[in-house]
Symmetry: D2
Subunit: 311 residues, 4 copies
């Protein structure tokens, strides 16, 4: 296997995109710092029709996980009270439920502490600061206090006239350029970019294992694109986010390492961009207000999110 | 104990606020229908400074639940992978977490199927349509596809010049009127109203049992107020939402029955309105864009939510 | 579909094996009453070599469940503390784990409240006495205070000279007779009978779906055999216990209804009888001391068990 | 805080009781090796009356945990199917449950990998071999294939004529000698010793926090006693097993370190010895057959157990 830092291309990109210290040695949220009040004001100003599009998959036992990632279990919904007339017959009866799930099992954000490489997390903190009893001592998902910004859909599949990208398609900077041109909106600092591959259509059609692997996804070369634009976060409609199997043999999860560790940028997976794709095509615009606040699990290395695009 | 429908005042209010059939026999979302595209456009237009305020409590084992509500357990955060270098030493290492929690344990929305009375849920559906294997067959929390609207903070505590309301203070329609006047904003159709009692300060100060019970909360007389204004949803900063112990002896959870069953209106609990209170007072305005999409658990009778106010 | 009580053969057998009232109207443990002190003394006296054979499958995410039975999830093992040196470097470090699992997911006993038919549980109690907030009000698995008795292995597969029974083989009373003769031990009152089909070999060989369905299992005609012998409990090495698909078209789970509801007899599934089969064949005897105490979940309708045979 | 190995008395005892290598470098079960077939035969021979006494607490939300040990949650029992007539009205209806719990939350065995000190587990293995994704790679609780032996109750409280020991009573070797004499049975190789302090009476009386802390428990000096007798395992009726706060200031969990790491001996907590105490006193004997097989969680650092004494 290949150690990322020992791979020349990875090392070169890492050096270019690294944000350690950019927002101070104490920073725990990385590129979310780019979402300024001004960015949010402009985001709100994009709202034109008032149409809202949900981007989360339903949380259920029949979810996207197949067991390929051990321990990342689909949501188990259970009842702890059912038609419980605790005050007597005919009085108010209550229903109450509980859930067990992997925090990264469904539509989610990877928190900055989701991965490390070379023993380091974002901003140079030791990998060992993530523990079983406390989760992430630094950059836990709860530190992302608000995730609301302008969203831009880069609909790579639609821009290429494809229903979904092929399983071995690594989304390249050139793909992003083309999708941006197709969108007619220039990505700018503080934006949250949604990259549509169409891969989720496999899951929606019932093919869970085909959805999981192999899968199109972001290329090792895209982090530099996002860094150049000072994007705040990126999400897409795949299970692994980046292309799997990887472009460089034995170099696994390089995009994770670049985004989360080097840049300090949230990345989202299993987002359902199908309805949004149709809506944007229909309205002829690809920028909108995006609300995507993760559930603030203390020390979480990721969290479910129920994003909504407001057009 | 008192059966709600047999209590004259309850019965009279129920008759007045009932929304069954208003949006058709098939409707599953009730007053969320009042959030039209036009409402959302106006909500976006309230964004002035771009300041964002998170309203969720952190999700952690040391949460607001005390065991008073059996089965509604605080979030248990666990690790299923920790610094796992699955590709060899120095390669990308992953952290992965899982959680078990009551869906209504922390900052949450009560879904319309959270309670029934007289054997009926919202829109007249049988209480028995909520099951252990499927949750709510109708009006599950996943049916609330998007919850984004104009939010209005009715800061009852601040309007009264109190740090927090007394434990036996039933928030009345008159309190709402006064807070509305204090806010300088008239509540209108489709708004989501946030009622601040200050009670959460007890929890924030470490007094969990004092936070839980007894507690100020909404009076039996407020649902008619919300109905008259055609509010889309209401949330506050208490554990039980309505005053406990109840105003009418032995008449338990009447506000739940009116809001959820009769009106079909989401209600939120354990929202942290402290920072928002300060921000609104500082900016001198109490209306904003509110994003509060619940996690879409299939058949959930409630769900955690991480709301954000955008000012 | 066929209502059991309306099927003549089922109705006839039910009438014959019914134990309601046999141990009083208050009884909650059924045939466990047959395990007297004398039976246990005799069971202990069977211990000859002192060899112990475990009969439980390991509890792990990669367990026997395939998703075929919704909500019955394989054990998810997680860590809540890992090498936690809470008292300083070099001091005692602790590891602590948590689990989520279906109570009937692995090697388990079905409790008497696991099924009802015609609205009735064992001893005539209403099905509605099982609730989400309390589990089984009567005959919860915790009521089986001790499950220790003489065990007898009826090795149907070995007696027939087969590695495992065919997928459509309904284990018949004649099969039990033959296996008993092969064992050289007569089954008597208070015994716990272990019926080996060899079907678990499919799971052990990695074929989970083949293990689950279709599967050999007990015939509708065997409960009368167990009743005639006054057996205390029965377990086997299959997922569903009885043959699936069922012998009588559309008559599902008749053996469950007869054992659990009519007789009040625990039945066990997913027991690993492979090592025991070899040991018994080697020692030339098929009776032993069996300890098989379920975990006493209050109100549980079933529970994991880690049985041990002592030869 | 005090590092155990740097404390003279601890270091001296550790050197004396250390069992590393005694059963080979590959051994993962430690003193369970002492339970030979001959020991089990003799254990079975102790069965005189056939009376069975359960020693597990019920598994329920209202269990012994108070939150003092983070993440070690009381069992949450939930339903995933309730009166589910999946084959039509009147057909067999099923109930199915799920649970989330700390493996060491109730009556349990600490596995050998539950603690380490100085970076080492039993038999010298690195502490880092316990991981979040796999649990204990060595000496997981699943490696204890069978736990059945002769049990001996050392009823320290009864021998001293006390209902329960005082909160600051460190059970000493002299206490064990006296209780052994009181029992009239000499503890010998392979026995499982149950030490009764009576402390559980606090929990049974509703005083959870008084049960938890402070608590009588085993003294630092007792491991040498157990080692001298070649005991296979020890359990008692307290939350922490050893006396808390500790005898030597700042020397925390020394008995855990000696038993689990140095000796490789299972230790059990929260065992209910009340009924057994009465039964033994009534029968005038304190030795019996003990079955105490933990649930075999793969890689578990502990596990629930439902022990039964057969007299």
């Amino acid at each position: 296997m290949t150690v990322p830092a020992q791979h020349p291309e990875f090392a070169q990109i890492a050096a270019r995109v690294n944000n350690w210290g950019r927002w101070g040695a104490e920073d725990e949220i990385g590129t979310l710092n780019l979402v300024t009040d001004a960015v949010v004001r402009e985001a709100a100003a994009t709202v034109t029709t008032g149409r809202r599009v949900p981007l989360a998959l339903p949380l259920q036992q029949d979810g996207v996980q197949t067991g390929m990632i051990p321990g990342r279990v689909n949501p188990l919904h259970t009842m702890v009270a059912l038609n419980l007339e605790m005050f007597g017959p005919g009085t108010v009866a209550t229903n109450d439920d509980a859930v067990t799930m992997g925090l990264q099992a469904a539509t989610h954000w990877d928190g900055l502490a989701h991965v490390s490489h070379g023993g380091r997390l974002y901003n140079g903190r030791p990998a060992a600061t993530v523990t079983a009893h406390g989760g992430a001592a630094f950059s836990g998902i709860d530190k992302s206090r608000t995730v609301v910004s302008r969203g831009v859909l880069l609909d790579v599949a639609r821009a290429r006239g494809e229903e979904r990208l092929a399983g071995d398609h690594a989304v390249s900077p050139e793909d992003l350029d083309a999708a941006e041109e197709f969108a007619g909106t220039r990505v700018r600092a503080g934006d949250i970019v949604l990259v549509r591959t169409g891969q989720l259509r496999r899951y929606l059609a019932g093919d869970k294992s085909g959805y999981a692997y192999p899968s199109p996804g972001l290329s090792l070369r895209t982090p530099a694109w996002f860094h150049a634009r000072d994007v705040a976060a990126v999400a897409n409609d795949t299970l692994t986010f980046e292309i799997v199997p990887p472009e460089v043999e034995n170099l696994w999860l390089p995009v994770h390492a670049l985004h989360l560790v080097e840049m300090g940028m949230l990345q989202g997976q299993n987002w359902n961009l199908e309805e949004l794709s149709t809506a944007c095509a229909h309205e002829g615009r690809y920028a909108f207000l995006l609300t995507a606040q993760p559930e603030p699990f203390t020390g979480g290395t990721g969290a479910p999110v129920a994003p909504v695009a407001v057009l």
